[in-house]
Symmetry: C2
Subunit: 196 residues, 2 copies
C-alpha cells in the first residue's frame, strides 16, 4: 500500500514532494500507532516513527483532532456508507439495529477515540464535527424508514442517538454495549405510531 495522502493540494497548486513525503509518513505512522496504542499516544512517538520533526506535524495538523480525522476519514466514510446498504437488504427496524451495532463496533475498535470525542479538550474540538457530518445523514435515513414503517417513534433527533451511543459504548464490554443498544431501540419502539 502506497499510502498516498488524500489531502487536496490547496487551491490547485501542486504539492511539493517533501510536503507529500512528510504528510504520508505522518499519516502512515499515526495510523499504525493509533491502532496499536490508541489516539492518546504522545506526539513524539508519532513524529519519531515518521522520522519527522514536531514542527512538521504541527504545521500540517495544527489541532490534534485534524490528524485523527485524517487518519480515520476512510473508515468513517465506510461505516456511514453501510447505512444505505443495510436499508436495502433488511427490514427498516432490523437495518437500524444492525447499523447501530456496526457504529458501536467502529467506535469501540478505535482505542481512546471515544474519550477524545467527549473529552471537551479544545485540541479535539473539530473531531465531533466531522463525525456528525457523516453519521447524521446515514442514521437519519434509517430512522425515517423505520418510523415510516410504524416500527419506532419519530421524535428523537438522530444526533441525540449518535451522541448517546457514542458515550455509552464500553470497548472492553461488548455485551454491555449490546444490551444498551437493545434498550435504546426498545425505547424508540415504545411510542411508535402504528401503521404507515
Amino acid at each position: 500500500m502506497t499510502n498516498r495522502t488524500t489531502e487536496e493540494p490547496a487551491a490547485g497548486r501542486r504539492m511539493r514532494p517533501d510536503v507529500r513525503r512528510s504528510l504520508d509518513a505522518l499519516l502512515g505512522a499515526a495510523a499504525e500507532v493509533f491502532e496499536a496504542e490508541g489516539v492518546d499516544v504522545p506526539v513524539r512517538r508519532i513524529t519519531a516513527k515518521a522520522g519527522v520533526g514536531a514542527g512538521t506535524l504541527y504545521r500540517h495538523f495544527p489541532q490534534r483532532s485534524d490528524l485523527i480525522t485524517a487518519v480515520f476519514r476512510n473508515e468513517v466514510d465506510a461505516c456511514a456508507a453501510e447505512a444505505p446498504a443495510l436499508a436495502a437488504r433488511y427490514e427498516p427496524l432490523e437495518a437500524l439495529r444492525r447499523w447501530l451495532y456496526r457504529f458501536t463496533r467502529f467506535i469501540a475498535a478505535k482505542q481512546g477515540l471515544k474519550a477524545a470525542l467527549h473529552s471537551g479538550d479544545s485540541a479535539y474540538e473539530s473531531l465531533p464535527g466531522y463525525f456528525r457530518e457523516r453519521f447524521v445523514p446515514a442514521l437519519t435515513q434509517l430512522l425515517d424508514a423505520a418510523a415510516a414503517a410504524g416500527d419506532i417513534r419519530s421524535d428523537v433527533p438522530p444526533y441525540d442517538l449518535l451522541q448517546a451511543l457514542g458515550s455509552i459504548i464500553d470497548p472492553d464490554d461488548p455485551a454491555y454495549t449490546g444490551r444498551m443498544v437493545e434498550l435504546i431501540v426498545d425505547g424508540l419502539r415504545y411510542r411508535a405510531a402504528p401503521g404507515a
Copy 2:
C-alpha cells in the same frame, strides 16, 4: 463551617493535630477548587490554596481519586439516600424517573467528574467503586418496585443503567440529558411484565 475531616483515625489512634490541619486544609481547598474549576484542576493549585506541600497531599491521598471521593462522599451519600425517600412519596415508576433525574443532575454538577469516572486513567481507578457501592443499592430498590408494579421489565442490571446514564450525561445540555433519560425509561417500559 469548621470543615472537620470525616477520615477516621486509623486503628483507634488519635490523629496528630498537624495531620488534622493539613487534611482539613486539603479537603477544604479541594472542595472549593473542584467546585470552581472541576476535578481536573492541577494539584499545585490545590496544594497552594491549602498552604501545603505536594508531599503532604500525596501521603494522604496516594491516588487522585482518593481525594475526589473524600470531597464528594457526603454528596454521594445524600443522593443515594433520596431513593428511599422518593420511593415512599411517589408511584414506583415516577419515583424511578425522579431519582434518575436527580442522579444526572448530581453528576452534571460536578465539573469533570463524569470524564474522570470513565477516563480509564489509573489515577481514577478507585472512583467507580465507591459510586457503585452507594448507588447500586439505591437504584435496585427503585427498579424492583417498578418491576413488581408491572411498570417496567426486570432484566436490566442496575449497574448497566448507572453506567449508561453516567456516560450519557452532558452537563452543558440538560435538555438532551432529559430526553435520554426519558428514552431509557421508555426502553425499560417496552417489555414490562403486565400486572403484579
